[in-house]
């Protein structure tokens, strides 16, 4: 786990990185299939 932290920018946790990587799969699949910026679906 410590080794992984070395690859992450300061202040970013492994959990946060995991969430971003997982979300990328789903938003990209949505974008490729229906042609929209899927990321906006999670806007706060």
């Amino acid at each position: 786990m410590d080794g992984m932290l070395g690859f992450l920018p300061e202040g970013l946790t492994v959990l946060s990185a995991g969430i971003l990587i997982t979300a990328s799969f789903f938003t990209s699949a949505l974008t490729a299939s229906v042609g929209v910026g899927g990321g906006l679906l999670c806007s706060p």
């Binding site: 690859f7 992450l8 920018p9 300061e10 202040g11 970013l12 946060s16 990185a17 969430i19 971003l20 990587i21 997982t22 979300a23 990328s24 799969f25 789903f26 938003t27 990209s28 699949a29 949505l30 974008t31 490729a32 299939s33 229906v34 042609g35 929209v36 910026g37 899927g38 990321g39 906006l40 679906l41 999670c42 806007s43 706060p44």
Partner: protein
């Protein structure tokens, strides 16, 4: 991705890192769907985008996020559900103007994908050509944005390992989404597009009021 990133990434790095991630994911999408890209439209779009990026880099004006979200939400709902006159063979000026305005906006707001998608949607009869060309035009936009932030001194190298993994995951997602695109009938895709875009717009409106 942009909205999710606002919870997890420092605000100062948000727009540049989002731009880099989107550059990677749109490049991969363009590669996977390259056979359907309309390169003439991309070239014309690039011309306007260059002017938009230049103007955005010069003008340091930033509207509050809630105004941008509210405007974008209303704009999307209007375009999707109100029947507009069909644009027959739109000329280079109109396409280039779309590149200029959306790239300019992208320099401040980050995510203009839905606006570009709506703009291109009126230019294509076949949905998969619209999706492929949309990927190529967004690659153009995010390339210009990354170059601009790079010249401004943003340290992209710190974020490269994470961005690589996000883009890799996105590439796999793109392959899965493209399989769906190729299997679904054209009419169903268009209906899905309208429904998803409406959900996006409603969420943007909700976010602008809360």
């Amino acid at each position: 991705m942009l909205a999710l990133m606002t919870y997890l990434i420092p605000i100062a790095a948000l727009i540049p890192v989002h731009g880099l991630v989107q550059l990677g994911s749109n490049t991969s999408r363009s590669y996977v769907q390259r056979a359907h890209i309309n390169w003439r439209i991309v070239r014309i779009f690039l011309f306007g985008s260059l002017l938009g990026a230049l103007a955005g880099a010069i003008l340091v004006v930033q509207l509050p996020a809630y105004i941008l979200r509210g405007f974008l939400g209303l704009f999307i709902i209007t375009i999707i559900w109100i029947k507009l006159p069909k644009i027959e063979n739109p000329g280079p000026v109109l396409i280039s103007l779309g590149g200029l305005v959306t790239t300019f906006t992208s320099m401040f707001a980050g995510a203009t994908g839905p606006i570009v998608a709506l703009f291109l949607n009126s230019l294509f009869n076949e949905h998969r050509k619209m999706v492929a060309t949309h990927g190529a035009t967004m690659t153009v936009q995010h390339s210009l944005k990354v170059v601009a932030f790079g010249f401004a001194g943003f340290a992209f190298w710190e974020w490269l390992p994470l961005v690589f993994l996000i883009v890799l995951s996105g590439f796999i997602g793109t392959k899965a989404g493209t399989l769906l695109l190729n299997k679904m009938p054209e009419e169903k895709l268009k209906l899905c597009f309208k429904i998803v875009m409406t959900l996006v717009a409603l969420d943007l409106l909700r976010a602008s009021f809360i």
